[in-house]
């Protein structure tokens, strides 16, 4: 995350406005008891009735002023802090998306969500109302002490002693609560996991009739959660009333000693009245101290967690950039330089900490990625891959000219999918090199590498969106154009009542825009054709044609609602629509019945100009390949054409025998 000071600088005018409003607000607050004092001492006791109108007018001015200033203060703090939170979110999201697959392997989805949502919320609170209240408490307390001192320094001794006492108590309480909160949030997370797995794995749970077991598991967490919440409550109950007690005793004591001072003639009645009023006004900041320090601490904890994500560097990035990223890390170690750089790099736009070389390289890479096109020759040269010290692939070599087909077979866990992952640059080779058109992929822009390969992954992932949008992910360019068209063809008739009502009441432009996109879903002919032909090639057009809304059918979370085979076919269509020179199918017809698979095979064979890598368990899927390699424990066990491998009478041959049922 960027420095707090960066955001304060970026929005200094907002904070200045809000801060000024706050101080004046507090000052007006202080004047109020003075007016009370004037009414009592001058008007009533002194009988100067002519001063009454002035005093009341003063009260009115104070009241109105407080309303305006109070509103400005709150709204500005809210608005600014949320603006900052939104900035942080966007920036953090961009960073997370840039991270490599290994980060997502080791980090739970829930954790990433917590960073982007809850933690940013905590930081927002610190930038917003928590920060505001802290400033307010400080200003308020100093002003009140000043006023009290003006009335009677003797009486002021009570709050001066009591306030630090409260502060110490607050800090002690916060420390203890903080620990409990941490436990609670941990327990919350694990309870969340239990429930999430139960829901996601509901088929497994029911298949084993494990409902009671699951309920028991949840109950344990639920109970523990209760215990922790009670622990938190008990701590709160132990300390919080003490603040109240101190506040109340303070009032009584100042009344007693103030009374004595009045009796001794050192103080007027009005002054005493004003002092008691101040005392009562001095209580709430003390009561809030504990809570405020707690919130502030949690904001700092959240900031730390966010920073930790920022310290993750993408393992895979464009060549020039990785150097830049390293130098970036170096700069961060020297805090001075960093903050200096930030100040220099402008306020309006996001400051780019990357060095100039990095910047140039980035834009270079981008244009390169846009313009270059890979013909489609793939070669692995003595490639080895280790992840976390575990050897996945060892000395893999093959040479696949553009337009040819490679088949990969092998036992479960033999490293087949890792080859795809390396081709997509999800991982980089530990040794050797992966080459596209004879160029090492590490020398090429990541965007170009990924643009060149359309992969159908083994674990099908579809987005909860319409089928056509899912496929457009493949043919992205057409998609972007069609979005523009869609926006024009807005049909207001399609809005739901509720949405209309919301539009009427709020009418923010972005909302309308969004609805335009959502409801005016009519795509251009070109776009439709693209989707249709991809679906046909994947043999998915048939079953989609039978759906009520055809390609505009929304598929559920993780594509629930479709059978495994249907999901596979949509995912294949998505890859076809990408029109990349290299096509990778990772066990992507396993859930199809034979006839459909045959049809898909036929279509695949017609895509002659594509370089194809087909990973499969069925001989029928790979036997036409120009070369077939059989993997075993990360090594090449056998290689050759179908005929050569059959003649070899090895693993491939035995597989063939088994599948043909000879």
């Amino acid at each position: 995350m960027k420095k707090v000071s960066y955001y304060l600088k970026k929005y200094w005018y907002c904070y200045l406005l809000a801060g000024a409003a706050l101080v004046i607000y507090e000052a007006l607050d202080m004047v109020s008891p003075q007016v009370t004092k004037m009414i009592i001492d001058d008007v009533i006791m002194g009988g100067q009735l002519d001063k009454l109108s002035f005093a009341l007018l003063l009260l009115l001015v104070i009241g109105v002023g407080r309303v305006f200033l109070g509103y400005i203060r709150e709204f500005t703090f809210d608005k600014t802090s949320f603006r900052i939170a939104s900035d942080i979110r966007k920036h953090l999201f961009a960073h997370i998306q840039s991270l490599s697959v290994n980060f997502f392997d080791k980090t739970n989805t829930g954790e990433i969500m917590a960073r982007l949502k809850d933690d940013v919320d905590h930081v927002q609170a610190a930038f917003g109302f928590i920060g505001m209240l802290i400033i307010q408490v400080v200003v308020h307390t100093s002003l009140i002490l000043y006023c009290m001192f003006n009335i009677s320094w003797k009486l002021s001794m009570f709050p001066i002693v009591a306030m630090p006492l409260c502060a110490i108590l607050a800090i002690i309480m916060e420390r203890k609560l903080d620990k409990v909160y941490e436990e609670i949030s941990e327990e919350n997370a694990s309870m969340n996991t239990v429930a999430e797995e139960n829901l996601a794995g509901v088929r497994t749970v029911k298949a084993f009739a494990r409902e009671k077991f699951e309920i028991g598991k949840f109950l344990k967490h639920n109970r523990h959660y209760y215990d922790l919440n009670m622990k938190q409550s008990k701590l709160w109950i132990k300390y919080n009333p003490i603040f109240q007690l101190i506040g109340r005793l303070l009032t009584v004591l100042s009344l007693l000693f103030g009374g004595i001072l009045v009796i001794n003639g050192e103080l007027t009645l009005g002054e005493l009245g004003a002092f008691t009023e101040y005392t009562m006004n001095a209580i709430w900041p003390m009561e809030m101290l504990g809570w405020l320090s707690n919130e502030l601490a949690s904001a700092f904890a959240s900031k730390k967690k966010i920073d930790k994500i920022y310290s993750e560097k993408p393992m895979i990035c464009d060549k020039g950039l990785s150097a830049a990223a390293e130098s970036d890390m170096k700069t961060e170690s020297g805090n001075e330089t960093e903050s200096n750089m930030k100040t220099e790099t402008g306020n309006e736009t996001e400051p780019n900490i990357k060095t100039e070389i990095g910047n140039e390289t980035e834009s270079d890479m981008k244009t390169k990625a846009r313009n270059d096109r890979i013909a489609g020759a793939v070669s692995f040269e003595h490639v080895s891959l280790s992840i976390d010290d575990k050897e996945i692939l060892k000395d893999i070599s093959f040479d696949l000219p553009a337009g040819k087909t490679l088949g990969i077979m092998g036992a479960t866990g033999s490293g087949k999918t890792s080859i795809v992952n390396m081709l997509l640059r999800f991982y980089d080779a530990t040794e050797g090199s992966v080459k596209l058109d004879g160029k090492d992929v590490r020398e090429l822009p990541v965007a170009l590498v990924r643009k060149s390969t359309a992969a159908v992954m083994q674990d099908v992932f579809l987005f909860s969106d319409t089928i056509s949008e899912n496929i457009r992910l493949g043919g992205k360019k057409t998609g972007a154009e069609s979005t523009k068209i869609k926006k024009k063809e807005f049909k207001p008739g399609k809005l739901s009542k509720e949405e209309k009502k919301m539009l009427k009441t709020y009418n923010p432009d972005d909302e309308t825009e969004r609805l335009l996109v959502r409801n005016g879903a009519k795509s251009s002919d070109e776009d439709r054709e693209m989707i249709q032909s991809a679906l046909e090639a994947a043999c998915a057009a048939d079953f989609i044609g039978k759906l009520e809304e055809k390609t505009e059918t929304v598929i559920g979370e993780r594509g629930v609602g479709l059978s495994g085979g249907q999901k596979q076919r949509i995912s294949m269509a998505r890859a076809f629509a990408k029109k990349a020179p290299i096509l990778v199918l990772d066990d992507s017809t396993s859930a199809l019945d034979m006839e459909t698979e045959k049809a898909v095979q036929k279509n695949l064979n017609e895509m002659g100009d594509l370089t194809k890598i087909i990973i499969a368990h069925r001989i029928s899927s790979v036997q036409r390949a120009d070369e077939i390699i059989v993997l075993d424990e990360g090594r090449v066990l056998e290689r050759g054409t179908h005929e050569e491998l059959m003649a070899l009478k090895g693993y491939y041959y035995r597989t063939y025998e088994l599948q043909m049922g000879a």
């Binding site: 009241g63 396993s590 034979m594």
Partner: protein, 642 residues
């Protein structure tokens, strides 16, 4: 991209808020006595709070004016004692309330969770996991404050307001009226503001949950996004969502920040009026100074609870929506329920009989969907053709008893399965083959009673499946579904899920039987390796093997394998088959597979297509018959022979 569904707001049924509230507060009834105690405590503490200004008034008016130090001291000592008592009471009250509200939350959450466990697949099919999860966690937590505040704010603050008004009126009605004149103004102002703020927060919450859903999906599908190079596009969508989120927050704040100022100005107006009336109209002489000071305090004591109550109202309206969503789930009827007097099966032999079974997934809601209606007649004719020459059958496989019975029983025609009948003897291995979406999975789903059939009878060991408790039925079955969910925990724990009292030896034996032992021992910590979220880090085939071991360890009488080996290579599959062969002896099993090599060893093969079984018999018989199976087989063979 990927925002339509995540952007869709959930439809919640319309229930009157009061009904929901009453139901929610019903949970508090268990704690009647404790709540009474809390209220009693609050009466005392409120009394002391109200007495405090009186004490100040008396001190100033009587003792200080008179210079009576002694009485002043004793009065203050009284004040100290009263306030100490009060703080002790507050502690007690907070403790009791914390206990009550936390316990109610635990109860509601547990009830909700237990109810969800009873619900059938239909419920889960229609709802994203994230949204159900939000009910269990977020919505339940959001009730905490409503529950606590309903006792500690609603009742006491109402009492405080009334008491303060009475005290003010009794002390001096003219001053009292002056102090309260702005109350109607405030009520109007708050009402105006409240409705706008509320709508604003509602919109904000929707934007918030949309943003959540988007992040969730984006992270889950990051590989797809990166491989398609769609980062820029998702970033754009995300930025857009964040801006909407931001905009809705600011809109909501615009109104809700107005809230405090409205009360503030009314408060000030009351104060000014009170002084004016007190001094100008009533006259300073007849109004004691102390009374004016006390009234100043009373006004504060009046407006504070008014503010609290408005806040409470706001909070309640917001959170009642959460309660509504919780109760909606609690009211969802489980589709599969044990009949009264349903039998607990101790053991089963494994006979399975379908007697004119018809089924459709949407039957219950009478919805029509995109399934092929035209295929219906077609399947009828085909089925009839098939049944006309079924002399070769050992057991009766009576297919479609004709069109008459379909229309005869007065039910709507079921689309997925249509009058299917067959009988499977204990210990038989049945293979189900047929095209994607033909209904193979449906057949096994019905045997496991994941769904209830809509017509006909389904018998296990001659007993109607609906007369057997679901629990005992499923625990006698080993069902391996297409999606093999692994839980976080060790490999061992995951296998043990099949039978909770399985020993380590039994677990290893099961893993060996399905050829999973070898790769498991090669994992970092062997059987004690922790499995990450959704089994990440294992290959699809390895996940399937672990799930297979889990099924095997459950020692089922009826085994259902639905594409159980689709991601496993042929060699391992062969080993798996050899391994489980001995285990399968004497158990009825149903195997669904696309690869015909997988099912060659089956006793009988059912060819499922278009809502019925179009062909059945032993592999040899079917080959000899040269029907559908033969066609399938030959196609595959040809394909593989190139």
């Amino acid at each position: 991209m990927a925002r339509n569904a995540t952007k869709q707001d959930e439809n919640t049924r319309e229930v009157k808020k009061t009904v929901t509230l009453i139901r929610l507060f019903g949970y508090l009834l268990t704690y009647k006595l404790k709540i009474l105690a809390v209220l009693l405590i609050m009466v005392i503490t409120t009394a002391i709070t109200i007495y405090n200004p009186l004490l100040i008034e008396r001190a100033i008016n009587v003792h200080i004016k008179a210079g009576d130090t002694k009485s002043l001291i004793s009065l203050c000592v009284l004040g100290v004692i009263l306030n100490i008592i009060m703080v002790m009471l507050i502690k007690l009250r907070m403790y009791i309330m914390a206990t009550i509200s936390n316990e109610v939350l635990v109860t509601i959450r547990q009830e909700l969770y237990e109810h969800i466990q009873k619900l059938g697949f239909k419920f889960f099919d229609n709802r994203p996991t994230g949204k159900i999860l939000a009910r269990i966690m977020g919505d339940v937590n959001s009730l905490k404050d409503v529950l606590t505040n309903s006792v500690t704010t609603l009742i006491p603050d109402a009492i405080t307001i009334i008491t303060v008004v009475i005290v003010m009126m009794l002390k001096d009605w003219r001053l009292g009226l002056a102090a309260l004149w702005s109350l109607p103004v405030m009520i109007l102002g708050i009402m105006w503001d409240q409705s706008r703020a509320h709508a604003g927060w509602q919109l904000f919450r929707k934007k918030n949950s949309n943003l959540n859903a988007f992040i969730h999906e984006d992270v889950a599908g990051i590989r797809v996004i990166q491989s398609f190079g769609a980062e820029e596009e998702t970033q754009e969508t995300f930025d857009e969502l964040v801006e909407e989120h931001n905009g809705s927050f600011i809109k909501a704040c615009m109104y809700s920040d107005l809230f405090g100022p409205i009360i503030d100005i009314c408060w000030a107006a009351g104060l000014i009026a009170m002084y004016y009336v007190g001094i100008r109209i009533v006259g300073a002489e007849s109004v004691a100074v102390g009374t004016l000071v006390a009234f100043g305090t009373y006004i504060g004591m009046f407006w504070q609870p008014v503010m609290n109550l408005s806040n409470y109202y706001n909070q309640m309206v917001t959170n009642v929506a959460g309660a509504e969503r919780i109760f909606e789930i609690m009211d969802a009827e489980p589709e599969i329920v044990d009949k009264d007097g349903a039998e607990d099966l101790m053991s089963i032999r494994g006979e399975v009989e379908f007697d004119n079974v018809s089924f459709d997934y949407d039957d219950a809601d009478d919805k029509t969907d995109g399934r092929d209606d035209a295929g219906e007649l077609d399947s009828q004719t085909k089925a009839n053709e098939a049944s006309s020459d079924n002399s070769a059958r050992k057991n009766t496989v009576a297919l479609n008893r004709g069109v008459q019975s379909v229309y005869g029983n007065g039910r709507t025609m079921c689309k997925v399965l249509n009058n299917v009948s067959f009988k499977v003897a204990a210990g038989e291995t049945i293979a189900l083959v047929g095209p994607t979406g033909a209904g193979k999975t449906t057949v096994v789903n019905l045997i496991a009673r994941f769904y209830d059939i809509c017509a006909g009878r389904l018998l296990i060991d001659g007993k109607d499946i609906r007369d057997i408790t679901v629990d005992s039925l499923r625990s006698k079955m080993g069902i391996m579904t297409q999606d093999n969910f692994l839980f976080t925990g060790t490999v061992r724990d995951n296998i043990r899920y099949g039978r909770l009292d399985a020993t380590d030896e039994e677990i290893e034996a099961a893993a060996k039987a399905v050829s999973a032992h070898e790769f498991i021992t090669k994992l970092e910590n062997g059987y004690d390796t922790e499995i990450k979220e959704r089994g990440a880090g294992l290959s699809a085939g390895q996940r399937q093997l672990i799930a297979f071991a889990r099924t095997m360890v459950s020692n089922p009488s009826i085994l259902i394998l639905d594409e159980a080996t689709s991601s496993i290579d042929t060699h391992t599959e062969q080993l798996v088959q050899q391994g489980i062969e001995s285990l399968l002896k004497g158990r009825t099993s149903f195997v669904i597979a696309h690869r015909l090599s997988t099912i060659r060893n089956a006793d009988r093969i059912f060819v499922v297509d278009k809502g019925g079984i179009v062909e059945s018999g032993s592999p040899a018989e079917l080959m000899a018959k040269k029907g559908e199976y033969y066609k399938l087989y030959m196609a595959q063979k040809r394909e593989e022979e190139f």
